[in-house]
Symmetry: C2
Subunit: 581 residues, 2 copies
């Protein structure tokens, strides 16, 4: 709130730049390195770019701070993150042909704010800046030791907390001083939903660590200083390690890209955000080049961002990620999939009531008149046929009534699903390092060509997962043409989120797997697998699986596990080619 009058200066500055010219935020009132709020300056600078059709917005080097107070606001539905009324520092809504060059600038955000939202944007390049937060949405504590009542931990000053009525709550450390009322607490809270132990030496999730659910809070006991006893007797962790309190929500992704095309990221560091790093939905042609998701250097944090590094939903065109680093985030490095809506009832021979079931898919309105839908048997995800949409009536963010151009097959019943049968994205993931994060490496679910080459994987779950289901996550997947080539799989599966380096984890009902060939055309070649756990491939319901010319090295880098397991568990698959024993 320090520079509210700057905003007027910024508006006054919005004058007389010729199309194609460069706008500097400095000319719109932004001041580097003085901890003033640069949000109004960005707002003014973007206005200026729009008004003058400037093609480039630049930041003089330095640190820029952003608060939500004077930011633009918009209700956003963000798949696999949390919907809501967002304050947005860089609202690129309908923006076209703009490059934002940070020139090495460091962007530091404060509180409940979304850095970038792109909607109906085209031809946007974002480059050369980093994103961080003054107070992270997750919290970290050092494990001191355990006792019969639970686990003792200690928080650094970077993670303000308090204990009210015996319950641990994280805050921004700034009580507002005003009295509490029936409608208002004493400070801004940072709610947590789960706990996960990280190994302080290896800087990764601890060996075989799993999530402890803590949604709604945890009873604790103050031990003096910044030491706290977590009264959760089953909670286990190694002294010296870091216990991470995961953010309960995903409201503040770093980059949200919706209904956009031609979006490029070059040299962008995402040190923190309260959600996914890059979430793109219903968009096409997205490139990530030298994007790093990693804890801020010098921050002492072990966790980078609070959810997946990247995530692509119902995208098309080309998705390219190369020379990226995705590490220490609280979920997968990427997940590329579509969305199934559930058939709730047939309301007419040619009409169904459908629901977006997963709460974080609410508002994901992808069904449009004229589009082609895939009709899917829910338990098996076997395609029953296709249909063309005649009309859609949206009842609310969950329910829609869809009228098709022709009567639907009789076998389509409640519990079945619909998804887009149109464009799927071609994907290339090359020369990326994916490591130390919670859960899996990459989840592949596009039906166009996918090439995964020259990457390094070191993750506690499966490095590569073929997911997809119409029962819980409602994520459409089912690959057709995947090449996994020249990657290095380095001691994966040291955690609880997988059963092989490369795994099919589709939610196909067990009794349907024999009849389903949901994933097809997977070639795995010329990779190096360094493994302490022998399980390489676990697959079912696949048609076409080739494993050739891969190098397998055994390691003793972790305690042995599943030593007697088979490297290849292949069930209900056709056209499988494995190396001779």
């Amino acid at each position: 709130m320090k520079n509210m009058t700057l905003w007027m200066l910024a508006l006054a500055a919005a004058a007389g730049v010729r199309a194609g010219e460069v706008v500097s935020v400095a000319d719109c009132g932004a001041r580097a390195n003085d901890q003033s709020d640069s949000t109004p300056a960005v707002r003014a600078a973007l206005e200026k770019c729009r008004a003058t059709r400037a093609t480039k917005l630049v930041f003089p080097p330095g640190r820029y701070d952003f608060w939500p107070d004077l930011a633009q606001e918009k209700y956003c539905y963000i798949s696999n993150n949390d919907e809501g009324l967002k304050r947005i520092v860089f609202p690129l809504l309908g923006t076209e042909n703009l490059e934002i060059d940070g020139q090495g600038a460091r962007f530091v955000f404060h509180g409940q704010v979304c850095p970038f939202v792109l909607e109906h944007a085209r031809n946007i390049t974002l480059k050369n800046f980093s994103i961080d937060w003054a107070r992270t949405f997750h919290s970290e504590a050092q494990v001191l030791g355990s006792c019969a009542d639970g686990l003792d931990v200690e928080f650094s000053e970077a993670f303000p907390y308090n204990i009210r009525n015996g319950v641990l709550r994280f805050t921004d450390g700034k009580p507002d001083g005003a009295p509490q009322t029936t409608v208002k607490g004493a400070e801004v809270e940072y709610p947590y939903g789960s706990l996960l132990e990280f190994d302080v030496q290896k800087r990764e999730t601890a060996f075989q660590a799993h999530d402890y659910w803590a949604r709604g809070g945890l009873a604790v006991q103050a031990l003096g200083g910044r030491k706290v006893r977590l009264l959760m007797p089953k909670l286990q962790a190694t002294p010296g390690n870091i216990m991470v309190f995961g953010a309960a929500t995903r409201e503040f992704p770093a980059f949200t890209v919706s209904d956009s095309a031609g979006i490029a990221f070059h040299g962008v560091d995402i040190f923190h955000c309260g959600g996914m790093g890059v979430i793109a939905q219903r968009s096409r042609d997205i490139e990530l080049d030298h994007v790093r998701v990693t804890p801020a250097p010098g921050s002492g944090r072990i966790v980078s961002i609070t959810a997946d590094a990247t995530h692509f939903v119902n995208c098309a065109g080309k998705i390219a990620m190369h020379d990226c680093l995705f590490e220490n985030q609280k979920d997968d490095a990427t997940n590329i999939h579509g969305i199934y809506v559930r058939v709730m009832s047939r309301v007419a021979p040619d009409a169904v009531l459908v629901k977006l079931v997963h709460p974080q898919q609410a508002g994901f309105d992808f069904i449009r008149p004229g589009m082609k839908l895939e009709l899917v048997h829910g338990p098996s995800m076997v395609t029953l046929g296709e249909a063309t949409v005649k009309a859609v009536e949206r009842l609310n963010k969950e329910f829609s009534r869809v009228v098709l151009a022709a009567p639907l097959p009789a076998e389509l019943v409640e519990g079945d699903a619909l998804a887009s049968a149109e464009a799927y994205p071609e994907v290339r993931i090359e020369r990326c390092i994916i490591r130390n994060n919670r859960a899996r490496g990459i989840l592949l679910g596009s039906r166009a060509k996918m090439v995964i080459e020259d990457n390094l994987f070191h993750v506690p779950g499966a490095a590569i997962l073929f997911e997809g289901d119409a029962r819980f996550w409602y994520e459409q997947a089912g690959v057709r043409d995947v090449v996994i080539r020249r990657n290095r799989f380095e001691n994966c599966n040291f955690g609880v989120w997988g059963n092989a380096c490369i795994q099919v984890g589709s939610g196909i009902a067990k009794e349907c797997r024999a009849a389903s060939r949901y994933n097809r055309g997977i070639v795995i070649e010329d990779n190096v697998f360094r493994v302490f756990d022998p399980r390489l491939i676990n697959a079912y319901s696949v048609d076409g699986l080739v494993f050739r010319n891969n190098k397998i090295e055994k390691t003793t880098d972790y305690p042995p596990q599943h030593s007697e397991a088979q490297p290849f568990v292949i069930v209900d698959c056709d056209h499988v080619s494995l190396p001779a024993e």
Copy 2:
């Protein structure tokens, strides 16, 4: 979800009714008494009313149940309640000339849903039905006794709860069976924010009981059965009494009336809702006749609704409430006021940046070009002058930039305030019973004529409060012409929310009170005050206060308190007429 196909029937039924005719929900698919979801039928019936210009919608007698699933959705900013994306069973948006006659029907809502939202509605009558919920937004427990660690309580089956990680959480009692994830808990929660003891014999807030803040939850210990120890050592309560866990939010008022005119309620019972009973904002001409806010008969509950019975913000025309019962709600019976925006900075000689400060006023956009504003000195609320609005630019739900038609006075600075200087509502409150609720009776803040006649007050705080401030609640008040006549004040102030039966509680800074005459023209006559506490009037900064021909009777119905206090404490007032000692 039981009757989704009914919805199609309902749509099919929406045909051929002549203007002025009566629509029955039964013809649109609603079925009384079978616990089916009548929401789609209401949606269809309202469509039919609109399409056919029907003037009356009727319900055959019986119970109707409503779920949010198929309800219409809209983002609503509701003053003094919580904003959000609401599911609405009766969305009267732009509706005109309609009577909804429940004919005695009982409406039972399930979960997170708003019964009625009226926006830009005109000439609407709502009559002869009751509103209740299957699971209340608050919870109640019987007090068993206390020990050094805290208080032991027992919950009935009506208030499902669980204890997770040592923390008490209220639920809908229906775990969904699906696994928890980093983004999803195991059930729907009913968060609580405070605790308040009610006297089980007197069915009112316990003598001198006060709120215990519990936002974020309470550490507890299971004692077996449905008994729980609340680990809050300072918590005191009498065994046998009821401890009420107040809802943390106010998201689901029964009736929200925005920007509407000519709204009448006749014979409506509000047994429960998750917010205020009737909240009207920027609306005119509202009548409540025989409206009852009371715990559902036979429910065994001690609390009716979770916030104020009624509340009117920036309203105009006439507000009439007569023959109403407002009891056992978790806040005041009514509060009639305007809203101040805070001046954050002067951005030009004729322009200010202003903020809606109180979070529950966010989005309350009342400033329009051409309107007259009052310029107010913040600490004293003394009017500095008036100004006409030239332009408003809304930055987001909190901040706007306001340009005035002329330069502003130099003395208007940061911390001062603006409010509407236009219409205020004439208010008549007659023959109402106001009792047993948390806090105060009625808060009077209109600058038009206010008549309060023939009511009964028995409340734990002040029966009548003249509030208003530009520092915390930002509620514009300052009466000009109030008659308080022939009311009965029955043992008020048995709780902690007042210092006299009739009280000025304006947030005028102490050092400004001598110079301020914020409230004016208050006549108190022909009333009966039955008091166990001698404090009748406490006033400051009033010009014109007449107390005449009132009967004062002492009682011993409660333990004596403030026995030595003066009945009249009058400071910094002019033109005061009190009875001779």
